[in-house]
Symmetry: C2
Subunit: 470 residues, 2 copies
């Protein structure tokens, strides 16, 4: 419990009392994220230095108060939810540090920097920060680091973790340490950097990151490929990738997504086909000119009904509009959207589509599928109404079956959204009892009092999927 | 101690007794690697299944016998040396599993597979396994995984770790677990995969790996750039990378390397210049044609004395010959070569070269510098004679100062060779006391009896660099 005495001590740690929030109205804003469930913190702090964070954590560790780090709250898995009360550390105000060093091709950032701003700054130097989660114009890099956020460009460029060279973190005991560094290669001891990134704030709190930047591709080109049959679409995706071409993006929309978009805002998509694949190539202008023709031919050879190559950037943006419209389009009929990210090996895409259709029928739920086809990271979305308790029960069962199916097909519970509260009950299903136990040992070794984001990743006995808490 | 009773139990675990080696003559072969020091194991086992490894480790854990996993023994940091006796697990015979799945673009391998064979197999499907340590035609993937091996292509393609999707490992308690999987994106719990890769066999023993393959670039092009001044060379490297071009390799040879090569086998290199940079571009033929001209111009603008673009693959191979000749050339005068891999931020390359020349003078040692300039991963090599005790004392001091300098310039002890026994004494210098302590906590949590490769990474109190043990 955060007593008055503790608040008084916190006032000495924080350089300004204005960054200590205790009003009920403030606490409400921190009781939810973009996933499910409502949990109130006792207190919110907005730190602006590693020293402040270290002081707070030391105190919290002494009094065993849960600490919940939070960026912009866009998590789809419950990452920042203060499920056991305690203190929320709101990092969104700590956005002052964003330095790009073009010679070392790195960016140094504080945790509250908006993700998209890093790439914007890199661009000024002919560089790129590749990770592009859909929320990148809102989300903070701190949240992206905690969850190891992905995005469409993951296919060619990998995810957040692949661009983190070094971190400054505060341990559960309030010590400030540095992991990794400023060099691309580093094999000095255990790779704490890649362990902390994606650990959802349960092993340490990130207070600074050194990110790798890469040369910015000079041009890009977009293709839209229409497949009457999902099996052909799956084969085409693999064939493109073994033809010596690595697209920067390969996004898929299923029939339900296409129909939803056309009903929402007609853009002229055919509603009688299994799938549309949007492909982006980037790199040297001459290379992508030639590659786009090759990709077209591969797709036509494998049964594509039609291939459209965007003539210029404006036309490309038009093609991508359809993909961007999916999210607003699907919530038009019902207000609640459950966005999953069960991920499967690429070869299992057709099978996964088939199984998802069966789940849709079996539980009578509104299911649309889109996402990152190139790396098997699909986003099955269930559209529902959280007020409809009977339907929500069916939805919970459908979600459970989606997870089980992904694992059965050699895939994983989460490709890019994280485990948080949402998927904790399913951890053993994928990792086995000993697999989870080995992870817990790390947690216990680093955070013996379990104060860092408790209630995430690791299930408590008998924990089940809960979309609505009371 | 490995008693007769334990050997009898091992005979029940191993499916064939012929894979239990106890003869003195056999033990000699396992007493050294490509680094320094000689240590005899009590016993060598050549496991061929995870079941055998699990049985061995369970027994070793019960009797607290050190286990030393070993691939081809090419380690430059002492990774497989059995410094506390015990059992060497020789994985070099377990090379039967090498499956490439072109649809999922993955390879599944057993630990004894020769690294280069993976890329050879991938090539048949238009794919590539990018990591290319210099020893790749001899080294095993198991050793590469344990040490997180790098190589020249690291600049564009990253290192071993960047291509590992999943592992099967045996824990210190003899449990078989799987980490990661077959998908490119996976954020289910802690990233044990990337923690185990590079942990030098101290956290678990790798018995299988799932590796990511990528589309094979269609063509490549090589340039040789000659710089009279090392500062110009450093600036040119950064300028190329901010011009929108990412070469696949950028290797540097200093004046001493060039002179050594010319003395060994004259290939017509100018011996009066500070540095030669070899650049390889790969990708679409049209793209690299254009990019090679751009790179040439950037280098000339920044003071390059001469730029040669290889007209064809044969000419390219000729240019790379000079780089390949460095190693044989420098051991011509003295038999012992100490190959370091201190790595610095790219912008510090000119400063590092200056400091290395000072160290060379101060300790009167034969120092040549070459390596991976694009990512700051230089290889300062000291040429000496291990029999000359007086010189070896100066060499030890010079090596220590190279480490200190790399860290002072914001770099790291090791870019790709690992810590092993060689660099353990310097861990705190880079990571601080708490940094090392946090790593130790992981080790203790996973291997409470300290049986997995003990004596590596973590220094014992007062440990110093030892190049010759008695």
């Amino acid at each position: 419990m955060v007593t008055e005495q503790i608040v008084n001590q916190l006032k000495k740690i924080m350089e300004s009392e204005s960054r200590i929030l205790t009003e009920k109205a403030d606490l409400v804003s921190y009781s939810f994220d973009a996933s499910f469930g409502t949990y109130f913190p006792e207190l919110v702090l907005q730190p602006l230095s590693a020293g402040e964070v270290a002081g707070i954590v030391k105190l919290a560790n002494e009094y065993k108060i849960p600490i919940y780090p939070r960026g912009a709250g866009t998590s789809l898995s419950g990452g920042p939810l203060p499920v056991h009360g305690g203190i929320v550390l709101d990092f969104s105000q700590w956005n002052q540090l964003l330095i790009v060093d073009p010679e070392d091709t790195v960016a140094i950032v504080s945790p509250g920097v908006i993700t998209a701003n890093i790439d914007k700054e890199a661009k000024k130097h002919g560089l790129m920060y590749p990770p592009d989660p859909s929320s990148s114009h809102v989300s903070t890099i701190g949240g992206n680091l905690a969850e190891n956020a992905g995005g469409p460009r993951g296919l060619k460029y990998g995810v957040t973790k692949d661009y983190v060279l070094g971190l400054e973190i505060v341990t559960a005991e309030g010590e400030i340490i540095r992991t990794g560094g400023r060099t691309i290669k580093n094999v000095t001891g255990y790779d704490l950097t890649k362990l902390i990134v994606g650990a959802e704030g349960t092993l340490g709190i990130i207070t600074e990151a050194t990110l790798q930047l890469i040369p910015r591709p000079q041009a890009s080109k977009t293709l839209m490929v229409i497949f009457a049959d999902i099996v052909d679409a799956g084969r085409a995706i693999s064939s493109v990738l073994t033809s010596g071409i690595m697209p920067s993006k390969m996004e898929i929309m299923d029939q339900a997504s296409i129909a939803a978009v056309e009903a929402y805002e007609p853009v002229g998509l055919p509603v009688d086909v299994d799938a549309i694949i949007l492909i982006e190539l980037d790199g040297h202008p001459l290379a992508i000119e030639d590659e786009s023709e090759k990709v077209k031919q591969v797709c036509l050879d494998l049964g594509a009904r039609k291939v459209v190559i965007a003539k210029n950037d404006h036309a490309a943006a038009e093609l991508w509009r359809a993909r961007k419209l999916v999210s607003p389009a699907i919530v038009r009929t019902k207000p609640t959207k459950i966005s999953e990210d069960a991920t499967i090996p690429r070869s299992k895409i057709p099978e996964m589509f088939k199984r998802l259709q069966e789940i849709k029928k079996k539980y009578q739920v509104d299911l649309v599928v889109f996402g990152h086809a190139g790396d098997g990271n699909l986003h099955p979305n269930i559209i529902t109404n959280i007020q409809d308790k009977e339907e929500m029960k069916r939805v919970e069962k459908a979600v459970e079956e989606i997870f089980a199916t992904a694992i059965e097909l050699g895939g994983t519970l989460s490709g890019e959204h994280g485990i948080g509260t949402m998927k904790a009950p399913f951890m053993e299903m994928e990792l086995g009892e000993i697999g989870v136990e080995m992870m817990k040992r790390m947690k216990t070794a680093w955070d013996p009092n379990n104060i860092l984001n408790p209630g995430k990743i690791f299930p408590v006995k008998g924990q089940r999927l809960v979309l609505v808490n009371d």
